[in-house]
Symmetry: C3
Subunit: 211 residues, 3 copies
């Protein structure tokens, strides 16, 4: 996914890995809760971490898929899942860290998906969708495999944070902000919206003007 690493691509790659680790942890925890075995837990953590990017690349016809050329993804996920399965009792101490990692992942995945779509020549509307897609499809597939109603579709600010970041990027691009700085701002906006939503328990309502 990252071919020629120039700053801020290095930063983005590192934040991407933080998100991958957060997803691997979240996937393993749910799979353990469902009583899956070692291999099942690793598989669910992979789906959670790279499922969204995989479907995005397949939809945009980008081959080979990003995790086929950069084996770091598969290795990081497997190691994370195994460590967590062995030292599961440590989990209660990492709950808050997980929320932080998860928000970093949401921001990094959105920026990557958004950038990739623009690079492929897609319109801004499709790029916004691909940012959301990359960020949430993995978690959705995890919940579907584990026979749960997807968490990200319920009353949580995930999709909204991703869209807010993309729209900010497009506005700032319009007024002439350079791409490098703009990506930083987009990352920060998504991360901030998500953390504020967690802190103040924001969520999107169901709308209904007339009862």
């Amino acid at each position: 996914m990252v071919n020629d690493l120039i700053f801020p691509d290095i930063l983005l790659y590192l934040l991407d890995m933080v998100g991958i680790i957060a997803c691997a942890i979240a996937g393993t925890l749910l799979a353990q809760h469902k009583g899956f075995d070692i291999a099942g837990c690793i598989l669910v953590s992979m789906v959670n971490a790279i499922g969204g990017g995989t479907l995005r690349d397949m939809a945009l016809d980008r081959h080979p898929l990003f995790w086929m050329t950069d084996l770091n993804y598969v290795i990081v996920i497997t190691v994370t899942s195994l460590i967590l399965q062995i030292f599961f009792h440590l989990y209660h101490k990492i709950d808050n860290a997980l929320k932080l990692f998860d928000a970093i992942g949401l921001a990094a995945f959105s920026v990557i998906g958004f950038k990739v779509a623009l690079t492929q020549g897609m319109s801004p509307l499709i790029a916004i969708m691909m940012g959301v897609w990359t960020a949430i499809i993995g978690g959705m597939l995890r919940d579907i495999i584990c026979n749960e109603i997807p968490l990200v579709l319920q009353r949580e600010i995930y999709i909204t944070a991703s869209i807010a970041g993309s729209v900010t990027y497009l506005c700032l691009q319009y007024v002439g902000v350079s791409a490098g700085i703009n990506e930083f701002i987009m990352l920060f906006v998504i991360f901030a919206v998500r953390m504020l939503a967690l802190r103040f328990d924001w969520h999107l309502p169901s709308i209904r003007l007339v009862a």
Copy 2:
């Protein structure tokens, strides 16, 4: 999906949009019932409306995907879903209209999927499958995301209507009917089978010759 609009392609495009609207409505209704937020409802309505065509295009290696070049799809779905969410109380008045729209969508989606596969040089058997695929996968994915057993696989005439239309097309093509007229007939056959099935409560049995 529709590049050079000549009649009857314009009609097919309009019927396609009717089907898209029906799917967006059905997706939003189920998502609301499950308590998803605004963004979640829009996402489920998108999956319902364009999920089948997306997987068909990915399977047939047609890139870019149809909704990436024609933004009408994404816009129509989003607007439909938002209007429905705001004026939800009107739903009870549109129940019968929804069934009609749904039947139109089944017919239009089947014809489009069938045509696309033939255009890509697939055999008739694969074309029949792609017609079914385009027509029902979206609703199946909607039900999977919402943790329901897919409605289209149960005792309802959906798949059968789509196959009946495709087989009619192939038979009439064999006796020399031109493609334009043949598409009309295929559309009508699928629509008629579906409406008659609803009217007279037809459904496919489970078969078992020997108890």
Copy 3:
């Protein structure tokens, strides 16, 4: 999938078909249990039998998909599912045969997925994943559609058997065993591990070093 049939490709093709039949039977049985109609049962049996290979080919950008050029797959699945639906009462006599077929399918699907990935120039790690993917995704999709928690992710030796076969292949390749013989050995290892696991009720534990 099989273009120039030379031995042992013919054997592999036959074993593949045995696996396809086993998957079609398993899919039809679960779909019947869920009360799906004739068409729904056929669709679930197709997802079970060719779902894994379809996603593998889409991920590796191999087009057209294997079942689009070789219609035997679709025909064998449909006929198998129909025969089973008509003579359902015979099922109790085929339970043990099904487990045998299923193990043959696991072995054949793993070898095919593993070979295909290597042929596409993928690294060994990705090839191992593609072997697992081809062998288990179909059954996972079947369970997801039928709203069940995927069996293959639970305490059953499926993924492990597939990985054991792939690792054996890679080790023997390293010491110079020719590809033809090596494939036989890989097939046998997977089949043997699966049958032994069934016979002696082996399963992978959940690991946790510290309580």
